[in-house]
Chain length 257, copies 2
């Protein structure tokens, strides 16, 4: 079955959620690294919990609550001025360096985003990165008031694009999202920027390494990606039928598997 | 409204999930601490994701998958003999030292467990700790094939005990569980064994401290406990209408609030 559409996750796949770190280090000094990692870890936890509890609040609210949690954990008062400055960075996260070139090279496909982000957050991100007009649709889970990997979120794609799920490639670097998309029936490519790093040598590892372990490795959910590539710019060759780059032995890698 | 029944979470509330650490240190040497913390962090992540994805597998399977993940992350082959030994410890986790005395003192109430654990896991835990016969029911989420904080799990309690939700006290040390129980309508007591520890001094913190920050603090979900106490043995005085011990300023603490 040929691929006719490509749907990208936003946070961590097209946009670097770690790009808040510079500002966090500036505003929170030596606690900046801890704040950065707890923020993202808790942001996703809260999205899953609100989805499972059926207590939806949009991703702006979830992201702010997670920021409050991370600041309090680091012993920092979550003052409005501090929180506003950090939250504002979430509206202009860095695009990964190769993302624009990859989107250019994939212009022959219908392209879309499916993201946990609220419509306003996604509009700001796409605008700030100069990507307006590249996507047939920028789909927010807000349309169904739940969060990935709830199947209701993935079900938004087919009617939005008019392309069958089985002919759509879903692209994500997030393990939970890969599992959810795979279970729903998409063909899935995992972007594995951090694969191949050695296991930590001792228990004395910091928050950044713990984040890497918890959230950038393949999950053990029995729902792995069809293909694993290192960068978004590896996708055109993959789709042209060439052998994909597979940095992680053992993760599903053979095309068409 | 008087309290007529008390429902306890099992893992982390009656039973110490950290009591796998000794065996993990023995079997995984200097990686034991990392394995211990990743195991519990990922175990809960997988339960939330399987609940939200509607892809239930029981907690034994989830716990084993999380163990595989944690061992691989630490650079250790998840060999069957190693995994079997660690999994077996999950069937005889240490009861918290004050738990039996607290259950004795609360014998005038209908008592139950509501847990993510599979029926077989819970039967083994209750048996190993000599608690058979203390509970009117030991309720596994397996009855609805989902995980806390899915409201379907909390809905199991009222029909099982024949006591209205509003007259039932739910007791948990897990932030996600407190939020789910509160949202469902229980009165909720938080067991806060770790409250009052100072924020970490630098970004160089290890897995145990990161676990404490991520999973033992109150969550910022707007669904806090009605009461916070430090130990299970504080519950009888709380229910007798005395002022509760409240180690965490700012967390909902006044009785009847």
């Amino acid at each position: 079955m040929p691929i006719r559409a490509i749907v990208f996750d936003a946070y961590g796949t097209l946009y670097d959620v770690q790009s808040v770190r510079g500002l966090a280090l500036e505003l929170c000094a030596e606690q900046g690294e801890l704040v950065t990692q707890l923020w993202r870890l808790k942001q996703l936890e809260y999205s899953w919990l609100r989805g499972l509890m059926q207590a939806y609040e949009d991703f702006w609210s979830v992201t702010r609550a997670a920021l409050d949690f991370s600041l309090i954990s680091a012993g920092i008062e979550p003052a409005p001025r501090l929180c506003d400055a950090l939250m504002e960075k979430y509206l202009r996260l860095d695009l990964y360096p190769e993302a624009a070139a990859a989107l250019d090279a994939l212009g022959g496909y219908q392209l879309a985003i499916l993201s946990n982000g609220s419509p306003a957050m996604l509009a700001a991100l796409v605008e700030a990165a100069g990507l307006s007009g590249r996507f047939a649709d920028v789909i927010s889970v807000d349309r169904v008031k739940s969060y990935k990997p709830d199947p209701a979120c993935y079900a938004l794609v087919e009617p939005a694009l008019g392309v069958p799920t089985a002919e759509t490639l879903f692209v994500s670097s997030n393990g939970f999202d890969i599992a959810g998309a795979k279970r729903f029936g998409f063909r899935v490519a995992r972007i594995a920027r951090m694969d191949g790093m050695p296991a930590p040598e001792s228990a004395a590892i910091g928050p950044a390494e713990l984040y890497r372990l918890l959230r950038t490795q393949p999950e053990q959910l029995g729902l792995g990606a069809d293909w694993t590539v290192r960068r978004l710019t590896d996708l055109p060759a993959l789709l042209a039928g060439q052998e994909p780059i597979n940095p992680s032995a053992g993760a599903g890698s053979a095309p068409g598997r």
